[in-house]
């Protein structure tokens, strides 16, 4: 893909979209993989006072000085505001202290439920995925949830076969009915688009398609009749500044190429 700021990869655009979910001053439960670099990008652009919680037991108000492949890498610990226990951080999440959380998924459905556990029957899975990690906790307890996914029909079934991380269940007020204290998916950032959820039914809808794509292209890669928001538009391309910072953070392109 390309823009006035130059060529960029789909992963770089996803990092930019993820970073744009972070508002200045927010407490963010940072997940594995792309969010590690999205948090660093947001801190260095529009959200300098955001605070990151890492489930291995870290709180940071500065981005890591070096690229992280995992949240437990040594550079993420040096300069942390607090190094503690997973349960202490999860307790903050459970209280409602984190306004935003990130998770990745293998499959996501019409109501934002995520499967990262079993493809096929649980007793005899055709693919055994790694599992929840902290993902199901973040999906249960964060104020808003941002999901990061590759986008194709297989990964976007109408209904996931296994709910590892609860989204909006079967829609409407499902979260309230099962007793989840707050939250739910706010954004699904994919290789093709950024999607959101309607206010009432909590069904997924297309909010923006990535440059070079189209609403029809996104719908063709989604396993149900995907709604398109009335004000849906093209995803704004990364700025030169955003691309520069991403490439400073990830010079070898481990996450972004």
């Amino acid at each position: 893909m390309s823009t006035a700021a130059g060529e960029y990869t789909p992963q770089e655009l996803m990092v930019v979209c993820a970073a744009r979910q972070i508002r200045d001053g927010e407490v963010v439960f940072v997940g594995m993989r792309l969010p590690l670099i999205a948090f660093a990008l947001a801190k260095r652009t529009h959200a300098p006072t955001a605070v990151g919680l890492f489930e291995n037991g870290l709180v940071r108000d500065t981005p890591s000085p070096e690229l992280l492949l995992t949240m437990g890498d040594a550079p993420n610990i040096l300069g942390a505001e607090w190094a503690t226990r997973t349960v202490a951080l999860m307790g903050l999440l459970a209280q409602g202290c984190a306004q935003l959380g990130f998770v990745g998924g293998a499959e996501v459905d019409r109501f934002g439920n995520l499967n990262t556990s079993y493809v096929g029957r649980r007793e005899h899975p055709t693919v055994k995925l790694p599992g929840s990690g902290g993902g199901a906790d973040i999906a249960s307890l964060a104020g808003r949830l941002a999901i990061i996914m590759a986008h194709d029909r297989k990964r976007f079934p109408e209904r996931v076969s296994y709910v590892t991380s609860p989204g909006y269940g079967d829609g409407g007020d499902w979260r309230e009915r099962v007793g989840l204290p707050r939250g739910g998916p706010a954004a699904v950032i994919t290789t093709l688009a950024v999607l959101g959820f309607t206010d009432d039914t909590h069904e997924m809808e297309l909010r923006s398609w990535h440059p070079g794509g189209s609403p029809e292209g996104v719908r063709a890669q989604t396993g149900w009749d995907l709604r398109v928001a009335a004000d849906a538009t093209e995803t704004p391309a990364p700025t030169a500044d955003e691309l520069r910072i991403i490439r400073e953070c990830d010079p070898q392109g481990f996450w972004t190429r």
Partner: protein, 305 residues
């Protein structure tokens, strides 16, 4: 006080028999006790129950080597690379043997260990409500709070037979200092019937006792202390060495098939009698390139009165 220092082989032989439930990999990505795990493989332990939060390839290795009958964990795979091929082969095809999986999340496995650490039967939580993890879990149970009637899930206490914890330093009597993100190390060490520490350094007790706030758990829980420099490689140890990202990528490639994994296992585990020979096999240059490049000492604290 009695000395608890044992060799790795003796500590594993004495305290981790077949059928044990073993908590390990408790700090998430750092401080993973690979040296201890490899000794379990060399001693051909069978029917182990592995307990942990996320597990970065050590669970996958133990599963591929046929040591494991059951997993109670939040995530099993390769954090920087993705899936764990041995975990997939075991759960999908029963190779090298079938595996019973009890799915947790990081919070719920932490609470299960905390409940055991506190000596209570369960801890209520509101995470996982409505999830299939809760629906299918054999022990987690839904129940309204007796105080206000709101929905909760009861997470029963989970007591490992033994927790294996890699630490920066320990004394011979069984007290350990550990720093960095702690994951569920503290909950697991307090919950377990006993703890084996594998340590980068064995230091005089005065060093440990100079900072009791940094001690993970009381010495009464300690079964053994093993001097295991480099014992967490390829995972990182703050202040000692960084994560060997390339080793995780190499393992990913070399575990795609059962045959490739057997070859990897021969080279890195069965063919290495102990951690010293493993590090020699890794090579000086690579090992030096991973070592911490500069000291970043914390300010001392004053316990005077």
């Amino acid at each position: 006080m009695a000395e608890k220092v044992l060799s790795m082989a003796e500590a594993i032989r004495r305290y981790v028999p077949d059928g044990s439930s073993v908590a390990l990999g408790l700090a998430l990505e750092p401080l993973i006790p690979f040296a201890a795990g490899h000794e379990l493989i060399r001693q051909q332990r069978r029917d182990l129950t592995l307990i942990g939060p996320i597990s970065d390839i050590l669970f996958d290795q133990l599963i591929g080597a046929g040591c494991v009958g059951r997993v109670k964990a939040a995530w099993v795979g390769n954090v920087s690379e993705g899936l764990g091929y041995n975990y997939r082969r075991a759960t999908e095809q029963g190779i090298p043997r079938g595996l019973e999986v009890e799915d947790y999340s990081n919070y719920s496995v932490g609470l299960a260990l905390l409940a055991a650490a506190l000596g209570v039967p369960y801890i209520p939580m509101r995470s996982l409500l409505g999830s299939d993890i809760a629906r299918d879990h054999p022990a987690i149970r839904p129940a309204p709070s007796p105080l206000d009637g709101t929905p909760t899930l009861l997470v029963p206490a989970l007591q490992p037979d033994v927790a294996i914890v890699h630490v920066q330093r320990a004394d011979a009597e069984g007290r350990a200092h550990v720093w960095g993100g702690l994951g569920v190390c503290e909950e697991a060490a307090l919950a377990a019937r006993g703890v084996i520490y594998t340590a980068e350094e064995i230091v005089p007790s005065e060093v440990i006792l100079s900072d009791p706030n940094r001690v993970l758990a009381p010495e009464m829980k300690t079964l053994a202390v093993v001097h295991a420099p480099g014992g967490a490689h390829p995972s990182p140890v703050q202040g000692y060495y960084n994560r060997d990202h390339a080793a995780f990528a190499e393992y990913h490639e070399r575990s795609r098939t059962a045959e490739d994994f057997a070859e990897w296992l021969r080279e890195w585990v069965m063919g290495q009698p102990d951690r010293a020979s493993y590090l020699a096999h890794l090579g000086d240059e690579r090992w030096r390139s991973l070592r911490a490049r500069e000291q970043r000492l914390a300010a001392p604290v004053d316990y005077g009165y």
